[in-house]
Symmetry: C2
Subunit: 94 residues, 2 copies
Amino acid sequence: MVEKVVQTDQSKAYAVLKADADKILKLIQVQMDNLTMPQCPLYEEVLDTQMFGLSREIDFAVRLHLIDEDEGKALLDNLEKQLNILHEKAQAGY
Amino acid sequence: MVEKVVQTDQSKAYAVLKADADKILKLIQVQMDNLTMPQCPLYEEVLDTQMFGLSREIDFAVRLHLIDEDEGKALLDNLEKQLNILHEKAQAGY
């Protein structure tokens, strides 16, 4: 078997992860606008699962040195902050 | 900002994913041996979440060409097969 080496720009790995984080934010935004209230257990479950999925992606990227650990942590923290803002806005609306 | 390029052996990326798949199998094994029965909703939820996390990792790796799409699919399929065997064994035991 030939050992294949793949070259990855760190910025590309980061961009893919950032796009996934944005997708989660968008999903939650749509969910809040149209489907369920933030108190709904289903909402919590979707969010938890999505966040878990992203954290697994980031963890994988960090282990392969595709992004720095700090960058990965900041990406998750930032998403959480934005989700909190969304959440507060939704609650203020009810 | 300096653009950093990371070199990754495909076999290494695969090995990291395989180790994560094995970890899920181990987790479910322990859960079956000690905690809950396969009919338990909590068991289903843990398993679904773990599988989702792994599928996100694999999807990320495929998008960055760190593993082939077929390899990724085979890894997930194989894990599912092994989990089914575990599941059947557990059910036969009750």
